[in-house]
């Protein structure tokens, strides 16, 4: 099978994969999240296509560009899609492979001081291209997604140090290797994105990696809440030295991505939901950092995006309909706002029962 035929068949495959969600919606007309997207776009997307995280020195990241591209593709905003794509290609495409430098700093002498990548940014970017290929009727985007997926798999999929043969999605092309194991960020493992990328590009390692990621997160959840970072060693997982072992701003995405991927009853989701339910915090304050072992709340935030995350987790693990998710708002920083939008999208695509109330 030549490359073009492979791409065409992949395009059809991913279209059918996504038929129950965003694509079907896009085909019917306005996506229900269009209004929220427009608000998000006005707050965080520059006209030139740069997604700005003002809290982090106004930086842009391959992650935020990937999130933006995915959201634009999902709601069918071709202009935003193209601008994000153009800016990213011009400013983060600094490597000889098809991956992106992970960060762009506006006020730095060198805008891209580091050419390492961030694997979740690349993964979401490829996923965004694939969605855009379908929603915007531009199959040629699959070519670029395939290039990224191929290089991403080569650089960031490693065998598990325990010799089980499982595949590990490492957080970057470099810097994850330790003497005794691999550093991973469980929230970079997005099974649904991996599966759709695999189905669309033919890079089958991502399909395996998706399944193995779910298993690795299951193992981690056996010991409590999923940590922000962990080191996988032949003998098991240990806290990554010098990195957060708490269930914090990174790991809060794990239940979101699992729910989005159809893993609503995953142990990690249930543990996170139970921790939210047990947290005795004031109304309007959502736990954002919890002790991994005890579930003690270490930090809270009033940003509604975090509340939406908690609301979705609590709903999917209950039998009730309706999730206590706040209305989308940009009266919060980029990160919780983006998680907020993605939480709504995950609910819309994966758990219709948990409609925001």
């Amino acid at each position: 099978m030549n490359r073009r035929r492979l791409l065409q068949s992949s395009f059809g495959a991913v279209a059918s994969l996504m038929a129950g969600g965003a694509l079907a919606q896009a085909g019917r007309g306005t996506h229900p999240l269009t209004a929220a997207w427009e608000v998000w776009k006005a707050a965080y997307l520059e006209p030139d296509g740069r997604v700005v995280d003002r809290l982090q020195q106004g930086a842009s990241h391959s992650e935020s560009q990937g999130y933006g591209l995915l959201l634009a593709a999902t709601v069918g905003d071709e202009a935003a899609f193209d601008s994000i794509n153009a800016w990213t290609m011009s400013n983060l495409r600094m490597r000889p492979d098809h991956l992106f430098a992970w960060r762009w700093l506006p006020d730095s002498a060198t805008n891209v001081p580091d050419r390492n990548n961030a694997s979740d940014g690349d993964l979401f970017y490829a996923w965004g291209l694939i969605r855009g290929a379908v929603t915007l009727q531009r199959p040629e985007l699959i070519d670029r997604a395939t290039d990224i997926a191929t290089d991403l798999a080569a650089a960031c999929i490693q065998p598990h140090p325990d010799g089980s043969g499982r595949l590990v999605f490492t957080p970057a092309a470099g810097g994850f290797q330790r003497d005794e194991g691999l550093i991973v960020n469980p929230s970079y493992m997005m099974p649904l994105a991996m599966r759709e990328v695999a189905a669309s590009t033919g890079v089958s390692a991502f399909a395996r990696c998706a399944d193995d990621s779910v298993r690795i997160i299951t193992d981690l959840a056996q010991g409590g809440l999923v940590p922000d970072w962990i080191e996988l060693r032949p003998g098991g997982a240990v806290p990554a030295e010098g990195m957060s072992n708490e269930n914090g701003y990174e790991a809060m995405r794990v239940p979101l991505f699992l729910v989005w991927s159809g893993q609503q009853q995953h142990l990690a989701v249930r543990r996170q939901s139970a921790a939210y339910a047990d947290a005795d915090t004031a109304r309007g304050a959502t736990p954002t950092v919890l002790d991994r072992g005890t579930g003690v709340v270490l930090e809270t935030s009033s940003d509604p995006g975090y509340s939406a995350l908690a609301g979705l987790s609590l709903c999917v693990t209950s039998t009730r309909a309706g999730a206590l998710m706040p209305r989308f708002s940009t009266r919060q920083p980029y990160y919780p706002a983006t998680l907020h939008l993605m939480t709504l999208l995950a609910q819309f695509e994966a758990v219709s029962r948990c409609v925001p109330i």
């Binding site: 982090q56 492979d97 700093l105 001081p113 390492n116 304050a285 935030s301 209305r327 990160y335 029962r353």
Partner: protein, 742 residues
């Protein structure tokens, strides 16, 4: 080799980088990133000579982010320690529970020298009230030094203040001691003095406005419980804030369920047509979070209806799509039927007490009191019968010359009484006769209008204790009985509408005017209590359509021309106007034909009184909506057609008001003007219908009604009868003469 270039690069990145320096010198979010090396296939940017160096030989730091927002109090306090955020809970946000005005929500006005406003202040069960506030402003004509606003809570005066909010709304705090759980009656008495003038005009110029959205009790949001009463109270407060109650759903909810919810929520404020829009569950947040809302969710095995707290702290009624209407009863019981204006029994005097107004006291220099009542739908007197008002009244001594009391029936003055010369005592009962034909079947209005000039008019009014005019509750209205007769009249159907169905024409767009009016009118489905004379036939129905859906409503029997209708409802027709303009300059056969037609129509108009055909009637009118009874033989079916300029809220309010307004829609069609008034079209040629046997007893009145309806036909009929009589007489005379001659 790697170890040779790695240290300088790390130093360069971490120390020399302006970003890194900023991170070290300021307490800003830290992004700890050192350059990473050894990437397979990556070209080095600086001194890196071997970018493909194995990662495991590099002591590198992975991309990392600081996600925590500075300024997050709980987070800041917790940073670096092991605190439990739950130990120092933030206080619950305080919210204002808006008061409910009897006249509506939003900005309410009380005007006159002795103004009064009644409000309901609701305290949810178990809530501790922090404050009771009133948000008000005055007209610039109010003389602060001699004016006062007094607040009476549950019958106890709790405070008063001199009104001086001339620049905008100001807030007054009142003591909360007299508040009790549930509904509290707050009466505001505005004792206004005009700065300069005294008289009827000055009465209108002194006023105080109260903003219900800023008036009410302040309490902790956390004190709201998920009890049914709390939900009703909170919904009422949300409605009173003017923000409406959104019905939130992920997709398109079942219209029947939406109508049911609107009917029940609208029953909390009967007749005020609150905004109850269907909103997407994904709609971004507005400026102010709602105190209460309704969410329609997919079916589960859980309870079909329950109350939960929203993330913002308000209450949400969660209703499953398949919930039976009865499942709503606990939280939103079906509204009770409203009591409409009193139905007067013709032939029996009805006192003001009977009519519900009781004794009337007037204290303003200009004041009008309307007493609405109804007559049976089959009551009809069109000729010379007399009705009578027996008025017992008195007025204050020393009122200036020129003081007047106007007694009106359906806005026609039937007596003008002086209010000077005999003041200070109750006058003997005064019989005031008036033509019964001023009354109509259905809604009627008796009005008393007092006008008292200033004395002198160019100085502030002197303080007056007590009323200027008092009318006894024993004063009565006597309406003569009539045979059971009817004309075409949509009024009764409109009055009974609440017991039937109101819906937009099928297929109408969700964001159309028709859908919006439907949404508003669904809340008026709170019916009026029906009388014994209500029909036993099918329940009344109202179909709402706009000009794009005219094909879906049965209008053929009315004889409506689509183009005329569209023009009357705001569609510009330049071509038509040009044609007319051109035609007017050409003297042609068609013009002669038009003139002949006009002449004939005038002649026919004498014979058949009433309005011209609907097409022609509409041709010189412009309105925003047309209410039609398409088939006179099916009076329970009404159609509302919305024009291009129709504002849904205004149209809905006009329809609701028209249900009990003597000037509301009647006849077979009624056009809503831009100013909110209705013009009724009464078709010519449709005679009143007698609904009882013609007897000797009722023959005279029946004949009088027909004679009044069409004198021409009546005279012609009489002429024919007389001619036949004469002919018969002649025949009799001729025949008897012939036989006598033989």
């Amino acid at each position: 080799m790697i170890r040779r270039w790695l240290p300088p690069l790390l130093v360069g990145a971490v120390v020399m980088s302006p970003v890194a320096r900023a991170q070290e010198t300021a307490d800003e979010p830290v992004i700890d990133l050192s350059p990473l090396l050894g990437l397979e296939g990556v070209q080095p940017t600086d001194e890196a000579e071997d970018p493909a160096a194995p990662a495991d030989e590099i002591d590198a730091v992975l991309p990392d982010y600081s996600r925590r927002a500075p300024g997050d109090a709980a987070a800041d306090a917790a940073a670096g320690e092991e605190p439990d955020a739950a130990e120092a809970p933030e206080p619950e946000p305080q919210v204002l529970f808006p008061a409910v005005a009897n006249g509506g929500f939003g900005i309410q006005r009380m005007s006159g020298e002795h103004a009064r406003m009644e409000l309901r202040v609701i305290v949810p069960p178990g809530a501790d009230v922090e404050a009771l506030t009133v948000s008000y402003r005055n007209s610039i004509n109010v003389l602060t030094a001699e004016s006062q606003i007094t607040a009476i809570l549950n019958g106890v005066e709790i405070g008063s203040w001199a009104p001086n909010a001339f620049a905008g709304f100001e807030t007054v705090s009142l003591p909360t001691d007299e508040l009790r759980s549930g509904s509290n009656e707050l009466i505001l008495l505005g004792d206004h003095r005009h700065r300069i003038f005294c008289g009827p005009d000055a009465t209108f110029e002194v006023w105080t406005e109260v903003d219900t959205a800023g008036t009410g009790v302040t309490l902790d949001l956390g004190q709201l419980s998920a009890q049914s009463q709390s939900l009703a109270d909170t919904l009422l407060a949300q409605l009173s804030s003017g923000g409406g109650v959104p019905l939130v759903a992920a997709g398109t909810p079942d219209p029947a369920l939406v109508a049911e919810l609107r009917r029940r929520i609208g029953g909390l404020m009967p007749g005020l047509l609150p905004d109850l829009p269907v909103e997407s569950a994904y709609t971004p947040a507005g400026e102010t979070p709602s105190l209460a809302r309704v969410a329609i969710v997919p079916d589960t095995e859980g309870p079909p209806v329950e109350v939960r707290r929203t993330p913002e702290g308000g209450l949400v009624l969660v209703v499953e799509e398949g919930a039976e209407p009865s499942a709503l009863d606990t939280f939103l019981p079906l509204p009770e039927a409203r009591t409409g204006p009193t139905l007067v029994d013709p032939g029996q005097p009805a006192s003001l007490d009977d009519l519900g107004s009781g004794a009337i006291e007037m204290r303003e220099r200009y004041e009008r009191v309307d007493v609405d009542f109804r007559l049976p739908r089959d009551w009809l007197l069109m000729s010379s019968q007399k009705a009578q008002i027996d008025l017992t009244y008195g007025y204050a001594a020393d009122l200036p010359e020129g003081s007047l009391l106007l007694v009106k029936v359906n806005d026609t003055t039937v007596r003008l009484l002086p209010l000077f010369g005999q003041g200070g005592e109750v006058l003997p009962t005064l019989p005031i006769g008036f033509p019964a034909r001023l009354l109509s079947p259905g809604m009627n209005r008796l009005s008393f209008e007092a006008v008292v000039p200033g004395d002198p008019p160019d100085l502030p009014c002197p303080p007056v204790d007590g009323p200027i005019l008092a009318i006894s509750g024993d004063s009565s209205l006597s309406v003569p009985p009539s045979p059971r007769m009817r004309r075409i009249d949509m009024g009764p159907t409109l009055y009974e509408l609440g017991s039937g169905t109101i819906e937009a024409v099928p297929g109408v767009a969700e964001n159309s005017r028709a859908a919006a009016v439907d949404a508003r009118l669904a809340t008026l489905a709170t019916p009026y209590r029906l009388d014994a004379d209500a029909g036993d036939g099918p329940a009344p129905s109202l179909v709402i359509a706009d000009l794009t859906r005219l094909d879906d409503v049965p209008l053929g029997a009315v004889g409506l021309d689509r183009m005329r209708l569209e023009t009357a409802l705001g569609v510009a027709r330049p071509d038509l106007e040009e044609d007319i303009a051109e035609g007017s300059t050409v003297w042609s056969l068609s013009r002669l034909s038009d003139a002949a037609r006009t002449l004939w129509q005038r002649i026919a108009g004498i014979a058949r009184p009433g309005d011209p055909p609907l097409d022609r009637w509409l041709s010189d009118r412009q309105g925003t909506a047309l209410l039609v009874m398409p088939r006179p033989d099916v009076p329970e079916e009404l159609v509302l057609i919305l024009g291009q300029r129709a504002d849904p809220a205004t149209v809905a309010a006009a329809v609701e008001k028209g249900r009990t307004d003597p000037d509301g829609p009647g006849g077979q069609a009624a056009l809503l003007n831009a100013d909110g008034t209705w013009e009724t079209w009464q078709p010519a040629g449709v005679a009143p219908v007698l609904e009882e046997p013609l007897t000797i007893r009722n023959a005279r009145i029946v004949a009088g009604n027909y004679a009044s309806w069409s004198p021409f036909i009546y005279v012609a009929l009489l002429t024919v009868l007389v001619s036949i009589s004469v002919l018969l007489g002649l025949i009799f005379v001729v025949r008897t003469r012939e036989s006598r001659n033989r």
